[in-house]
């Protein structure tokens, strides 16, 4: 017995696709001084999004909760070896292998964002610069694995996981469903992101000097 049920609530989906957008932007602007302010703005956005996601991991709906995708190493190994034989079990929420990538991403977003903020405040010297770069490129690598995993899993179980992350729904037994969508919260998140972008751009265009403070440009003082 299966029907169309909701798996991903609205805040989780808004979180995900805002993260994808910000992540692409943050990388496209990382190698240039001209786009330094946009890079920083998008980095802050990712930190804001992740702060929400951490709360949502405890307070959110069924499949958004950390407990629903915190697997033991045994479970991950069992899943991976089944996957190698092409017989991986289907999970309605995150599968054990996918969840490894997701945990890594969550940690890397925090690490990369935090090191970026410190770097921008001229704390930590060359070490911080190195750290920010290494964590960011580690994240890029995990994103590649994450996308490959989504593709493989979609093919294996003949379901489109990308459209499930857009619509929030999957085919599954009715009792696996999650009723609450928290659409209002998703709307608030979207508004918050857009307001932040508009406000930040306006401020940095108006008064760049006051805005950035008078800290020394990193990297030229050591």
């Amino acid at each position: 017995m299966s029907e169309r049920i909701q798996v991903w609530d609205v805040p989780t989906r808004v979180f995900h696709w805002s993260m994808v957008l910000s992540f692409c932007g943050v990388f496209l602007t990382s190698e240039s001084e001209r786009y330094r302010d946009i890079h920083v703005m998008l980095g802050y956005t990712m930190l804001g999004l992740i702060a929400f996601r951490v709360l949502w991991g405890f307070m959110g709906t069924r499949y958004a909760r950390f407990a629903s995708f915190l697997f033991t190493s045994g479970e991950v190994l069992t899943y991976v070896s089944a996957l190698a034989r092409g017989r991986a079990e289907r999970y309605v929420g995150h599968n054990p292998a996918g969840s490894v990538a997701i945990w890594l991403l969550l940690f890397l977003i925090i690490g990369s964002g935090a090191s970026g903020v410190l770097l921008f405040q001229d704390i930590g010297g060359d070490m911080m610069e190195e750290l920010h770069e290494v964590l960011s490129f580690a994240m890029l690598a995990v994103v590649a694995v994450h996308i490959a995993g989504v593709v493989v899993s979609s093919i294996l179980h003949r379901e489109n996981l990308v459209s499930a992350m857009i619509s929030g729904t999957k085919e599954a037994a009715p009792e696996a469903g999650e009723e609450r969508s928290y659409a209002w919260l998703g709307v608030i998140m979207l508004l918050a992101v857009v307001t932040f972008w508009a406000g930040y751009s306006a401020l940095s265009a108006m008064a760049p000097a006051e805005f950035a403070g008078h800290a020394e440009q990193r990297d030229d003082d050591d």
Binding site: E33, S73, A212, A215, Q217, D222
Partner: protein, 139 residues
Amino acid sequence: MSRINTLLVLLLVVMSGLAVQPACAETFGQFMAEFARSAKSSPGFQSFSAANGEQFFKSTHGNEWSCASCHTEDPANSGKHAKTSKVIKPLAPLVNPERFTDPTKVEKWFKRNCNDVLARACTPQEKGDVLTYLLTIGK
């Protein structure tokens, strides 16, 4: 317990990626020699020119910024980042001896900033001209 273990292993994997690179110091003379060696491989190279370097430094090259947009018209002075307004220490090695000592930094900033100013990498000729110009400042 084993859930905690999984997380620990993940963290360790991330941390082990953080190899620290050894820094090796050089002098501006070595950079000059390096630029000259690379420049000689292109046909028509004669020598580096401080005048060309100055001209290059102070003009725009298709984009809105020149080198001087951030480093000012006088590289003996502290500059100001054209985007974030952060202070940039003087570029002239005789004024600021920390300049042109770390190959990683020199390469990184030439790459990044030439891209912003010229929308391409700087040639060895251009780098040599600029360094020659910078060495005339603060004598």
